[in-house]
């Protein structure tokens, strides 16, 4: 780095007579010369988390939009943040997930082979369109909810906010891709029932961000992630399979953030665990009502059966198997997040044939 110059004789007034401030050039107290080294994939957020710039305070002293690590002038206005503890929003994998999200963006316009859609039987097209109607509706909650909370998050937690921005973009794309699919093959949007909105309202009205993230990332998106995984069985053609796979990758990032955020939160503030349990007590009940709603379950069963002819001997049994996988994954993630639900949940684990020991081992893996 070059030697500092002599800045003592710089002008104090502009040519128009306005006062000039050179403090940034000769007096800032922030760390200078950290010089992070790019990794093979470029200069990542993990690379620049060095020196004082990588230190995320547990309880930030400022509540302004000043960048973390900057030399902040006294009297900077308070932005009215209410999430001012690191445990409120942080997850240990936040930076990694942000980089991953940026690197794995895709386009619903360009990356789906829309031209390969083929005409489907009437019942299958209707079922696909009904599922797309539902997914177009529910996906945007995972954009609206972070948007609701982000402006209340202390700006020192910038990486968490940046990750949530990627989630909002992801969810916009999911709403886009399912809306496009509903319209693209001769069908259209079908029925939007009360149940979906009731579930979404439960999530958006959560009292705290941590309750909201438990309901959305861990419960809601966890279930949708497993639904996307099952797109392999649901999808009538390779076009829909690709849609589900691409969405699955995005959704798994959101679940990874939520799981590790809940864990961080509970580890740093054990009192929050009960708050999360209360939210999930209610959320599981609403989700179960929603998941077993007659319209959702019939559309899924028709897709799984490949038509109405085999809905009873194939569709419903496969649907039950899917439900078992969804609850198993959800309960395992709860263990990993440090909020075991096995003893508390009202989900009929025996009835679903869920192996409790395999769920508990997820907690031990942490």
């Amino acid at each position: 780095m070059s030697e500092p110059k002599d800045y003592s004789n710089l002008p104090t007034m502009s040519p128009l007579g306005a006062p000039l401030d050179w403090a940034w050039l000769r007096g800032a107290k922030s760390e200078w010369g950290v010089h992070p080294k790019p990794s093979p994939r470029g200069l990542t957020m993990l690379d620049i988390a060095s020196g004082s710039y990588g230190e995320v305070p547990d309880h930030p002293a400022h509540r302004s939009m000043a960048p973390r690590g900057a030399d902040i002038e006294a009297g900077t206005p308070d932005m009215g943040y209410i999430l001012n503890d690191k445990a409120d929003v942080w997850a240990e994998n936040t930076r990694e997930l942000y980089e991953e999200a940026v690197a794995r963006q895709w386009s619903a316009t360009r990356d789906i082979p829309w031209g390969e859609l083929r005409e489907l039987d009437d019942d299958v097209e209707h079922a696909m369109c009904q599922l797309c109607t539902l997914l177009t509706e529910v996906e945007m909650i995972a954009a609206d909810l972070p948007a609701k909370w982000m402006w209340r998050m202390n700006h020192e937690f910038i990486e968490a906010k940046m990750f949530l921005c990627t989630q909002i973009m992801d969810e916009a794309r999911h709403a886009e891709v399912f809306r496009k699919r509903a319209l693209a093959n001769g069908g259209g949007l079908l029925l939007s029932r009360n149940g979906a909105t009731s579930l979404l309202r439960t999530i958006i009205e959560a009292k705290s961000y941590t309750q909201a993230t438990a309901l959305m990332h861990l419960l809601g998106e966890g279930f949708v992630l497993d639904l996307f995984r099952m797109g392999e069985l649901i999808a009538p053609s390779d076009v829909e399979k690709r849609i589900f796979r691409m969405c699955m990758q995005d959704e798994a990032r959101h679940v990874a953030y939520g799981t590790m955020h809940i864990r961080y939160s509970v580890e740093h503030d054990p009192d929050v665990a009960e708050e999360i349990h209360e939210a999930l007590d209610h959320g599981e009940m609403v989700l179960t009502e929603f998941g077993t709603a007659p319209d959702v379950s019939t559309a899924l069963a028709v897709l799984l059966a490949g038509g109405v002819e085999h809905v009873e001997d194939k569709g419903f049994p496969l649907s039950l198997e899917m439900t078992k996988k969804q609850f198993t994954s959800y309960l395992a993630r709860c263990e990993r997040a440090g909020i075991s639900r096995v003893e508390r949940t009202k989900i009929p684990l025996d009835l679903l044939g869920i192996d409790i020991e395999s769920i508990r081992s997820a907690g031990r893996a942490a």
């Binding site: 093979p40 994939r41 991953e100 996307f228 392999e232 069985l233 990758q249 798994a252 990993r336 893996a365």
Partner: protein, 145 residues
């Protein structure tokens, strides 16, 4: 080339590493996967594939129960059927995609003790599928005169 062999997986890694243009659009992936193929129950073949960015940095033969982020474990015949489909069609199709196979779990099972590791199967699924699909070129080169 036998699919339950280190040279086969080394060839898949080399194929991936020599075609970054196939993986760049999918984005970077960091995961540590163990693939287990069982022919004789007492002597399974297991290989660890370590992915970093858009490369497969290491393939190493390991014990079947070797620690990893997630494990794909199944009979050699099921893996062979998957790679045969890839070789015949250029990429996995229908129920022969790794996501389908692991989802059904009848033959190839997705395993791992940590849900965060297991979820990497979903997070980087298309990268893993592209890696396996590389077998179409690896196996084609083998039979080419």
């Amino acid at each position: 080339m036998r699919i339950d062999s280190l040279p086969f997986f080394a060839a898949l890694a080399a194929e991936m590493n020599s075609h970054p243009e196939r993986y760049q659009p999918l984005g970077e992936a960091d995961m540590d996967v163990v693939v287990v193929m069982r022919d004789e129950p007492e002597r399974p073949f297991a290989v660890r594939c370590a992915f970093e960015g858009i490369r497969c940095e290491h393939v190493v033969e390991v014990d079947a129960d070797s620690p990893c982020e997630y494990r794909l474990d199944g009979p050699r015949a099921a893996w062979q059927a998957m790679f045969d489909d890839i070789a015949a069609r250029g990429r996995a199709t229908g129920l022969q995609t790794i996501n389908s196979l692991a989802l059904l779990g009848d033959d190839i099972r997705l395993g791992g003790s940590d849900p965060m590791g297991l979820d990497k199967f979903s997070r980087f699924n298309q990268t893993l599928q592209e890696f396996f699909d590389g077998a179409s070129r690896v196996l084609a080169m083998e039979v080419a005169p």
